[in-house]
């Protein structure tokens, strides 16, 4: 407990340290109740569902494992480190300190969860949506080829989610860059590393990962390319039941200049107005907005949203 009045005794450094430790403990204890209450009350709340939290933890461990594996390969050993290896655990904790990476992994867990719900409720195939089906059948070879590659990437993603895996090549480039910086810091940092020989291998490992990376081949890169190629036909990708969640989220993010992660948060229960606003900002009319909201069981489009034009809706989203 800290005291606000002046201490009559001369300052004692040992006591001061203790006081600080107590204060920290107080803060931690004060946090227990609200967090616990939130987790208990928000049981049905997808954002912090145990499944989602577990997936986030597992995915970060997988990313960390891949980064460490690249280091062992650079070192000449081709044996992945076990997940319980201290280096893997330490790097995983470091990765969780990167807010954008955490948000991305969280959003992917939410995406997988929502896709599974859409399949259960509407029978919407997470891999082969009507739009993907139509694109695969396109007479244009390039479009059909892209759609096939996206289909394969989406199928891979759905399988990997179950296994809590996320290949480094699927990360957006900025996040991969952040992860590589974390790798370097973790291995070369002042705290030393559980495997001193590995420190020198961080750089070559990072270079190898960079050289192998190609945003275009990632699921999100392919989705963005397909959406861009749709041009004026992007409306088709903005209808959730038609496009499937993967393309829908990419299309809406591109149309509203929001992060894809923000779109995935907006499809969560209770976020109907935000999603409606995003769809409005993307230039959709009521019927189209209703359709996507209904697919998510997010209620009718709020009347306030329908009174706004696209530009105003975009302004509101941008915080204006």
């Amino acid at each position: 407990m800290s005291t606000s009045h002046a201490d009559p005794n001369p300052p004692d450094s040992a006591e001061a340290t203790l006081r600080q430790a107590l204060a920290r403990g107080d803060a931690a204890q004060a946090g227990v109740a609200p967090v616990l209450r939130h987790l208990l009350v928000a049981e049905d709340h997808g954002l912090f569902a145990e499944e989602v939290v577990t997936r986030v933890r597992g995915t970060l461990a997988d990313l960390s494992g891949q980064l460490c594996h690249a280091v062992t390969v650079a070192h000449g050993l081709d044996a992945p480190l076990p997940p319980e290896d201290p280096a893997v655990a330490r790097l995983a904790r470091q990765l969780a300190e990167i807010p954008a990476l955490l948000a991305h992994v969280h959003a992917l867990a939410l995406e997988a969860q929502a896709a599974a719900q859409l399949r259960a409720r509407l029978g919407l195939d997470p891999v082969l949506s009507p739009l993907v089906q139509a694109l695969v059948a396109s007479p244009e070879a390039e479009t059909a080829d892209l759609a096939m590659r996206f289909l394969a990437a989406e199928a891979r993603f759905q399988r990997q989610v179950l296994a809590m895996r996320l290949p480094l090549g699927e990360l957006p480039p900025e996040l991969l860059h952040g992860a590589l910086l974390a790798l370097r810091e973790c291995l070369g940092g002042a705290g030393g590393t559980p495997h001193p020989d590995f420190a020198a291998c961080a750089e070559p490992a990072a270079e190898a990962i960079r050289a192998n990376y190609d945003e275009r081949a990632s699921r999100l890169g392919l989705a963005a390319r397909i959406v861009t190629g749709l041009g004026g036909g992007v409306v088709a990708a903005l209808q959730l039941p038609h496009a499937g969640l993967g393309l829908f989220a990419s299309a809406l993010a591109l149309a509203t200049a929001q992060h894809r992660e923000q779109v995935l948060l907006a499809i969560q229960p209770g976020q109907g107005p935000r999603l409606a606003l995003m769809l409005r900002a993307a230039g959709l009319r009521q019927a189209a907005i209703d359709e996507s909201l209904a697919a998510l069981d997010a209620g009718p489009t709020p009347a306030e949203v329908l009174r706004l034009d696209a530009a105003r809706a975009a302004q509101l989203l941008a915080g204006g």
Partner: protein, 458 residues
Amino acid sequence: MAPATPALAEARSDRADQLIAAAEPLVGLQLRCGGTLPGPIAIPELAELVGRARVLRLKLGRPITAQDGHETVRAWVEVEPELDAEGQATGCRILVRHWQAAALPAEDSEALISRRAEIDRALAELTARLDARQAVLAVEADVPDLAGVAAAMRAALGRPWTDFVTIAGDIHHQPLHWRLLDGAELTVAGSARRWRARLIPHGLAGAEPNGFELCLTSDEPPPLPAPATGAVPELGERLVGRDLAPVLRQPIARIIANAETIRAKMAGPLAEEYAAYARDIATAGEHLLSLVDDLADLEVIESDDFATAPDPVDLADVARRAAGILGVRAREKRIVIAAPAEAETLPAVAEFRRVLQILLNLVGNAIRYAPEETRITVSLERKGDLARIAVADQGPGLDAEQAARVFDKFERLGRSGDGGSGLGLYISRRLARAMGGDLVVESHAGEGARFVLSVPAG
């Protein structure tokens, strides 16, 4: 992964994210966005994407959106950084795979009307509040040439505003319906300028207005206040370089880009003579652009505080670069530029950029005035404390009288229509002298001209 289909266009950037090569339609967009080739990437989202790929050293693929004032372009762009042996990015390969241009959407009419009203309010040099019958209730003017009419209106509040102005083509002096007066051209006693009236109705939309705001605007600037006797008002220093050149460059670049588009018949087939006109327009535009640059330079070197920043430079290297830069232009006239050999060096102390500027001017002149299929020789020589570089051509040369005048400001030696401004040699000589050297010509009519630049040897 290398996508099987060929790219629509390919481009390259260097390690400073300058666009160094590009194909259409990217070139056109770069120019329309006010950029040059080579030059910094002027398309904001592309510049960001390329910069990011280079810094992250990762292959990226993303959609970009750009507006050039007329169109919105959406494109899918892929950027592959190219790494050197140390893993540093030396530049990027840029692939464009999808390109869609759409006319900018017309603003909806209501927003347009309210924006126009805002603009007119902001530009108005006289504003007045009118009642429903267009009688003046209050008036404000903030320029001297409208003070008179504002005073007259103020003295006779309640009379229609049309009594105080002369409306072009108006024969009945009755207040007309406001819609007929909105936008009318008029003249005002006491002002030599032409004015335009703008009536902004007040009241509920759709109903008869219950009052108006009158704004008088003019396309002409207000007259300058008469100079106080004895003191001549000085123009701001560096008027051209600081104020005018940046404003002029973009529209001129646009003229050139559009003319080039017409000339290349990119928008459709065109009769040959029209393509030739377009080429003339582009050439004239380029001339104008170089004139702007020359004038900006002129202003800088004529200012009192002009100084160069000398460094050790290798004149042989500068000469080879100048020859390389102008090689294409020379080849068009089948002229050979004989630059110093790779192994040659001539150390000097001078500002690299300025020496290059002078050499580009000298070699450029030689290409312009020498006959086809001749040779331009760039030779080096050290003489005492001076390093000298000579540019000799096999053109008609200069007689003694011309040689005496050739370095004068705006001297064209009777030439015209060839893209010269008459400033290049004047500027070059000033630059050479500012670096502690000189620029002279040795020539006799009929034997070609030989310009010699000397700077302190290193």
